[in-house]
Symmetry: C2
């Protein structure tokens, strides 16, 4: 397992342990993690803190040139909001744990020149499968359905 | 002036008074403002709190059905991240103060069935024109350039 995807999975598990939605993300720059986060809808009553958004926020304010050198790791395919943040900051590469539970805006990202690596990781798939089975209403809320 | 766009402008001016980027937004549901916010890049060192994102976050966690009945007002055309949040939550209508200073992802929003009303409001244009002239580097950072 790639150490960065493992860190994103660790974030997802931390979110689950907090009673939240198990999606985690890390931002990597120059070979090291500069921001990490997880979905905080339940924990903070948040509308916008998906895993990727939380990781970007915790990376902190940086010049635009910084984000263009980052890779974003996320345990689940990015929704339109998170994909929009990736497009805004011109993040060139996204490593996705899996897209079987939810297919996000991958085509739109690819159309903007973003390189996508989809791992179809069994741990990521298992985390989401169990969560979606146990909490279908909460999951629907998180993707606006 | 529409009272809701006036509230968004008031938020933009509050942001400017705080030393921030003058973009404001309000979320309206059933004829009343349920969330309001402004860009907080400078004030909070935030990567993700554009005006629209701040207004959505301050609206708080709601069921998906709630956002589908909202109108979002923003003083400036929404960037990819904010447009993505609008698509995620299926917000059906966005009232935009102006798109002359910055053209956001309006075509993408329209393609998702979002109704867009662009006012080309002189106050909104003036706020951005003055800000972009005085702080071109900060503005570039906010749009990832």
């Amino acid at each position: 397992m790639d150490e960065f995807m493992q860190a994103a999975i660790d974030e997802a598990r931390q979110g689950l342990a907090e009673g939240g939605i198990p999606i985690g993300s890390v931002v990597v720059h120059d070979g090291r993690i500069v921001g990490r986060g997880h979905n905080r809808r339940v924990q903070q009553g948040s509308t916008i803190l998906h895993g990727e958004m939380d990781a970007l926020e915790r990376t902190g304010r940086k010049p635009a040139s910084f984000y263009k050198e980052c890779t974003l790791y996320t345990t689940l395919s990015p929704c339109p909001m998170c994909a929009g943040a990736i497009v805004l900051y011109k993040i060139p590469r996204v490593v996705i744990g899996e897209n079987r539970s939810f297919m996000g805006e991958e085509a739109w990202l690819a159309g903007h020149g973003v390189t996508l690596d989809v791992l179809q990781d069994e741990t990521c798939i298992g985390l989401m499968h169990e969560f979606m089975t146990r909490h279908p209403g909460l999951w629907a809320e998180d993707i606006g359905e």
